[in-house]
């Protein structure tokens, strides 16, 4: 098992250097002089430019610059934001819990609804329920989520007035961040109504972000279940006279879930892409909104750092999924 894990980590090393190289190239590929771009509209004097060239290492050979950049990454140095003057890594770490909370709620919602829906559709294959569930899943899978978010805002916030339109919590509440997860922090604060306020802010963005993963998980669960339900061991379990619930829940589901776990892991990329759109629409103060704002502010060190960190998160999660997959499916481990 250790060899399997080390092998997977070994495969990541070239990808890691590739990803850092892409992030490194980003600022150098922008049209125009990188320093003038970083200075923005205020411009920069020739003396200051020469000084910055040396300070930021732009006068060194290309490969030396890349090496310095990689060494910097290992020391936690992702540069400084030109807008806030704060280190990019600090900003990322401050904002990441907001995105993580949203993404976690979305994936929990998607798994809790998607797996039962998929099982039900597979067991009742060809029925009205199967067609309705799969039809709905296909609509969800095809949904432009930025439009879906706007529709939900019009209906639930505009017409019914049930949910707030933006932010993580009402401005009435103020308490120190402990975990960075608003639901937990609001509970810890003991302020009356704070938890409900945080929850009501979280509902619509979570639904929007969960839509595509939910559809994918439901479709994947159904097809995995259908495959497993046709296997000999399921027939044997049925022939032994086991109740259908036990056959489906114990014999079939355990094996059907193996590909579903991979699918859930692959949704991390989908969630982070979705977070860019969802956070922008709901003014959710997370990584996605931060990146979009940095792009429009031309705060390119932030974009560079954010790009790298997000790719890092996806790589780590994919590694965990790979290892988990090997853990529950020995055939993969031994190949």
């Amino acid at each position: 098992m250790l060899r399997f894990i080390l092998g997977r980590i070994g495969l990541l090393i070239p990808t890691f250097f590739g990803v850092t190289f892409v992030a490194f190239l980003f600022i150098r590929l922008l049209p125009g002089d990188p320093l003038e771009l970083l200075a923005g509209e205020r411009g920069i004097s020739p003396e200051r430019k020469a000084q910055l060239m040396v300070q930021m290492g732009f006068d060194k050979p290309f490969l030396q610059q890349y090496w310095d950049y990689v060494v910097g990454i290992f020391h936690g140095d992702l540069g400084v934001s030109f807008a806030s003057k704060k280190p990019v890594l600090d900003e990322f770490l401050t904002l990441f819990p907001a995105t993580a909370e949203l993404a976690l709620c979305a994936i929990i919602l998607a798994v809790c609804l998607g797996i039962p829906a998929g099982i039900f559709a597979a067991v009742k294959r060809g029925s009205f329920f199967d067609q309705t569930i799969m039809g709905t899943a296909l609509v969800g899978y095809s949904m432009p989520i930025f439009w879906w978010a706007l529709l939900l805002i019009v209906f639930f916030s505009g017409t019914l007035g049930w949910t707030p339109v933006s932010g993580r919590i009402s401005l009435m509440y103020f308490f120190p961040q402990v975990t960075g997860f608003m639901l937990i922090d609001s509970l810890l604060s003991g302020e009356k109504g704070a938890f409900l306020s945080a929850l009501s802010h979280l509902i619509l963005p979570s639904i929007v972000l969960a839509t595509i993963p939910l559809a994918v998980i439901a479709r994947q669960t159904r097809s995995a279940m259908l495959e497993v339900l046709g296997e000999d061991y399921v027939r044997t379990a049925r022939a032994k006279g086991l109740p259908p619930r036990r056959v489906i829940g114990l014999h079939a589901l355990r094996n059907a879930l193996i590909p579903v776990i991979t699918t859930i892991g692959l949704q991390v990329g989908v969630l982070l892409t979705g977070a860019i759109l969802t956070e922008t629409i709901f003014s959710w103060p997370g990584i996605g909104k931060w990146l979009i704002e940095s792009i429009s502010r031309r705060d390119y060190t932030v974009v560079q750092g954010g790009l790298l960190m997000i790719a890092g998160v996806i790589m780590v999660v994919n590694l965990i999924v790979d290892v988990l997959y090997g853990l529950i499916n020995p055939r993969i481990r031994h190949n």
């Binding site: 590739g18 590929l29 432009p144 439009w147 879906w148 996806i314």
Partner: protein, 309 residues
């Protein structure tokens, strides 16, 4: 004996006729399985309608998509109180006819998606063939580059590329093509790896077929089924991504009647005029849904495993 003898000619003609019949039979079989899936047939019909709408936009659109009717700002759809017969789906905040903009928008969305898929498929197939056929260093380099592309969320990479290339339709197209590329490379490579040691490939090699012939004429036609399904999925992804980039201001720029850009422009009016937001989004949803229905049907019809079950 030469090839020009009457007997040889007759043989060739017979072989050609047989080959034509085999192609016809294959298509008939494909159509039989495809048409079993009612959703796929409906999707195909909707998609055909959308293509007609895009091609004949100047004839079908009741108004010029950019003309502003100053007496009709935010006119509601015809069935709502205050709606005007001239504007079936209403007008936007500068008095442009929404229906006409949606009809013209089909040109952008479908056109961009076609270009993106053509670029991704041709480049992806060539790279996948090279990686799977050549193996060794070529394979390692190509596949690691694809891994790197896959490490970034698609939309984020597309956004960054759009920033580097300056926001606009062309850069959005290029960015989305790059993002979709790894799927084709991986699929082609996997298919080539499973095919290259088969007897018919070895036979062709012994008969003296060169590398290019082996790659494109012998192996490629036998790897097409998953590629066709992936191309359909990528087509719908491309439409969604173009719209998302437009929505974030990094794709088509106003006043281009691209559906995502229309949504972005309409955002601030959502609580006052539901129609400016609803119809462009519905157009995206219907298009993507139709293509995904076709994709599901193609997968059912082209996957031999599913046929048997």
């Amino acid at each position: 004996m030469t090839n020009s003898s009457p007997a040889a000619k007759a043989d060739t003609a017979k072989l050609e006729a047989e080959s034509r019949n085999a192609t016809k039979a294959q298509f008939a079989e494909f159509w039989y399985y495809f048409s079993q899936n009612k959703g796929a047939v409906i999707g195909l019909a909707i998609f055909a309608l959308l293509v007609v709408m895009a091609v004949f936009a100047p004839v079908l659109a009741p108004h010029d998509p950019d003309v502003q009717y100053r007496d009709s700002f935010l006119a509601p759809p015809i069935w709502q109180e205050g709606g005007k017969a001239a504007f079936l789906l209403g007008t936007d905040w500068v008095g442009r006819d929404i229906l006409s903009r949606i009809i013209y928008g089909a040109r952008y969305s479908l056109g961009i998606a076609v270009m993106v898929v053509i670029f991704s498929v041709t480049t992806g197939v060539c790279l996948g063939l090279l990686a799977g056929y050549m193996r060794g260093v070529v394979d390692v380099v190509i596949m690691r580059i694809m891994d790197i592309i896959l490490s970034f969320p698609a939309l984020l990479l597309a956004l960054v590329l759009a920033v580097i290339l300056q926001p606009g339709l062309k850069s959005a197209m290029f960015a989305i093509s790059i993002v979709l590329l790894p799927h084709f490379v991986r699929l082609t490579r996997a298919a080539v790896l499973s095919e290259r040691s088969r007897d018919y490939v070895v036979a062709a090699r012994i008969a003296g077929a060169g590398h290019i012939r082996l790659m494109f004429t012998t192996i490629l036609p036998n790897c097409l089924a998953p590629l066709i399904v992936q191309a359909t999925l990528s087509f719908s992804n491309a439409i969604l991504d173009v719209a998302a980039l437009g929505f974030l201001g990094m794709g088509a720029q106003p006043p281009t009647p691209e559906w995502g850009t229309m949504l972005a422009e309409a955002r601030e009016f959502i609580l006052r005029a539901w129609w400016v937001v609803t119809f462009p989004g519905l157009a995206i949803l219907i298009t993507v849904l139709a293509i995904n229905l076709v994709g599901d049907g193609l997968r059912d019809a082209l996957d031999p495993k599913l046929k048997r079950s």
